[in-house]
């Protein structure tokens, strides 16, 4: 197996699992969204590393270039990044509203308040 081999996929898996760990282990809602972002970037890296071809140039046509990298994943990820920031904004808006309603953004605090509310 030549040097790069499958390393790009392993890096993606490590990043993805880091993001996953942040999402499931942290109680703070902002940290959860940051974790989702890390997860998202790992998927982007996965697509982009799949699109790389050895010796391929950036996909801008020119007569002097023989091989190009695969432009299709670039397109998908390009739009996904912008959509990602828009959805992050939506998540952040939800966090702000949760804070308005509960006065906290820690998950366990919110659950405690909910429990108090349901059994007065």
């Amino acid at each position: 197996m030549a040097f790069p081999g499958l390393i790009n996929y392993w890096i993606v898996v490590i990043l993805m699992m880091t993001g996953f760990y942040i999402v499931i282990s942290q109680g703070n809602l902002i940290k959860k969204i940051v974790g989702l972002n890390v997860f998202q970037v790992s998927v982007f890296v996965f697509y982009i590393s799949m699109s790389k071809v050895f010796g391929g140039a950036a996909p801008i046509l020119d007569d002097s270039i023989e091989t190009y990298s695969n432009p299709l994943p670039h397109v998908l990820i390009l739009t996904a990044i912008v959509v990602g920031v828009a959805t992050t904004a939506l998540g952040m808006a939800l966090v702000v509203r949760i804070r308005d309603a509960y006065g906290t953004i820690e998950e366990d605090e919110i659950q405690r308040l909910e429990a108090e509310e349901s059994e007065p």
């Binding site: 950036a58 801008i60 390009l78 739009t79 990044i81 912008v82 828009a86 904004a89 952040m92 808006a93 702000v96």
Partner: protein, 138 residues
């Protein structure tokens, strides 16, 4: 931030260049890296810088909330409208070849228009979101 004259002067100097760069990215997207998505973000960053330095109210005076919301929907409508125009002229939805007498120039025109729509929507979205978040504590 009214007392930081260095910031104010530098920002005033930089903002036109940011807008110019955004327009370059928008219209040069056919030939190099760039396009509507990036240009929209850079354009929004220009306004966000202005709002950060001069205050939200001042920025709102330059760019009223109604205007950003109108632009927000106009971008989508422009995109969909170009698609609809394709049907009207006898092609498929979002087929730009019929927009002009020659297919390639039609494609050019179509890409130009929809990139413009994308740029408008993205810029308006980013500005709207920033102003809403920054304008909360009043």
């Amino acid at each position: 931030m009214n007392s930081h004259s260095i910031l104010r002067v530098v920002a005033k100097f930089m903002i036109p260049f940011i807008f110019l760069y955004a327009l370059y990215v928008q219209f040069h997207g056919d030939f190099g890296p760039g396009g509507g998505f990036q240009a929209g973000v850079i354009f929004a960053v220009g306004f966000i810088l202005y709002a950060l330095i001069y205050g939200i109210d001042e920025a709102r005076r330059v760019l009223p909330a109604g205007l950003t919301r109108t632009l927000l929907s106009l971008g989508v409508l422009l995109y969909a409208g170009v698609g609809g125009l394709g049907i009207y002229l006898g092609g498929n939805f979002l087929n730009y070849s019929v927009l002009s007498s020659h297919p390639v120039s039609g494609q050019h025109l179509g890409i130009f228009l929809i990139e413009f729509g994308v740029g408008t929507t993205v810029a308006a979205t980013m500005i709207t979101i920033f102003f809403i978040f920054a304008g909360q504590d009043r």
